[in-house]
Each structure stands twice: as C-alpha cells, then as structure tokens.
Amino acid sequence: MTTRAVEAWTLEPLVSFVKEAGARLVLVMTSAGQVIAQHGFSRAVDVMSASALGAAILASTEEIARQLRQPPFAALNHQGEKQGIFLAAVPTTRAKLVVLVVYDLDASSLGLVQLFFEQLAAGLQAASPKEAVPKQVLAADFERELSDSLNTLFGR
C-alpha cells in the first residue's frame, strides 16, 4: 500500500499514523474536498468520490452542530460489520484539513484510530507551513489542478 502526498509536509505524520493505527485507507483533504495526501487508494476515481463524500459529510455535521448552537463535532465514526470510517477535522495555520480514515475491525479499532489521530493532528499542525497561504483554485484552472494532484497522488 502506498502513501503519497501533493504537499510533502503531510507525508511524515500520515505515514506514521497509518503504521501505528493500522488504517487501511486515509485521505487528507481540505474542507472543500481538495486532496492533499492519500494512503491505500489505487484508483483516482475512488479518491475523488471519497474526498467529495467526506467533505460533504463533515460539512453536514458542522451544519447540524450550528443548528444545535454547538461548536462543531470533533469527529464522526461509523462502524460497519468489518470496517469502520472515522472522519475528523484538523485546524492548521494554513486551512482546516479533513481526515477520512477507513479501518478494518480485525486489524484496528476505534480506540487505536482515535489515539493515533491525536498524534496525526499534532503532527500536521506542527508541520504545516506557517508563512504560505494556500493558493485558491480558480474554476478555469480546476481541471488542470485536479489532474496534477491526482497524478502526484498516484505517482504518474
């Protein structure tokens, strides 16, 4: 399973998280669904759909929290028969990142994912470049940017 990053500073914390938590698939993305790093995905189409769905789910939970007049929920876990998904936000100096984790219940657990997610969040916050502001992707450049990102994420 490969781990690849569009932004190199995310790679070390992500590799460490995958190793410690035993995660099967991981996406690190912006709250708009723009993928910054991934582990375990083999097809670009899966990355695109998972990032869009993950960002949308987190946006929905934030809206529910807003309607309840609560601060945003820290994390969301959904456990199935053999796999679970864990979705949480990480505030960094650059932007709020969203992390989507898929884990096998026979190789990992919610407790392990939660435990090492705290380290991942701290690692991403520490490694996040302080000076640069993320570049806004314009509609005109969107397809090229997306294509470049996917090429990087799949080592093409």
Binding site: L105, D106, S108, S109, L110, G111, L112, Q114, L115
Partner: protein, 119 residues
C-alpha cells in the same frame, strides 16, 4: 449514575483498593474504548485502553490459532509496573495498572470478580 455504571464503579473500587494498584479500567475489547475508569493522575487511560484492546484481539486470535481456548488472565510485568487484564464474557476487558511489587494474586482475584460483575 445508572445502575450499571454504579456497579462498574463499585467493581473498579474493589480493584483500586488493593495496595500497589495505580488504576483500573473497564475497556470495550472490540473498540478499545474506556467504559469506566478509576486511574491515578499521569496514566494515559485512553492510550492504555486502545492498546490493551488491540493486544486482546491479537492474543485472542493467537490463542484460537494455537487451539488453547480463550484467555482468562494476562500479566505483563515491566520494570516500572505491571499491566493485568481479565477478559469478561461480554467482551469487556477488566484492566489494572499496578506497581511492580503488587500482590498479583489479590489483584487477579478482584479482576475476576469485576469481570463477573461486568458480565
């Protein structure tokens, strides 16, 4: 506090009363999450629970593969202390963190009692 929570608290209380026990927890074995805890300051409960849960799953698989049945008690002795665990029938793990010179027999007895109470 619910009846179940009160029962868990009482069971943990009996474990932590043993001299040399620094903390006790009930941990969901499948998830590695804390169900109830009584820990001294400085013990990272969530970390111990997650890692003990993971270890329990791996040990269970190893024991099944070896054909030796279900684990009943584990005692991990380290330089600065010990981790003692009894899995309950419900999948809850009863965990104690103790000093290195704790009376293991007494802790085991209380862990088994707590496991019975946890189901």
């Amino acid at each position: 506090m619910t009846t179940a929570a009160a029962g868990y608290a009482k069971a943990l209380d009996l474990i932590t009363r043993v001299r040399g026990v620094r903390g006790a927890m009930l941990v969901s074995g499948d998830d590695g999450l804390i169900v109830a805890e009584q820990l001294m300051e400085g013990i990272k409960g969530a970390a111990v629970a997650a890692l003990a849960g993971s270890l329990a799953n791996r040990l269970r698989r190893a024991m099944t593969a070896a054909g030796v049945g279900v684990g009943q008690f584990w005692h991990l002795q380290c330089d600065a202390g010990a981790l003692l665990v009894v899995p309950a029938a419900s999948g809850i793990l009863v965990v104690a963190v103790a000093e290195p010179d704790v009376n293991v027999g007494l802790v085991r007895l209380e862990l088994l009692r707590a496991a019975e109470a946890a189901g």
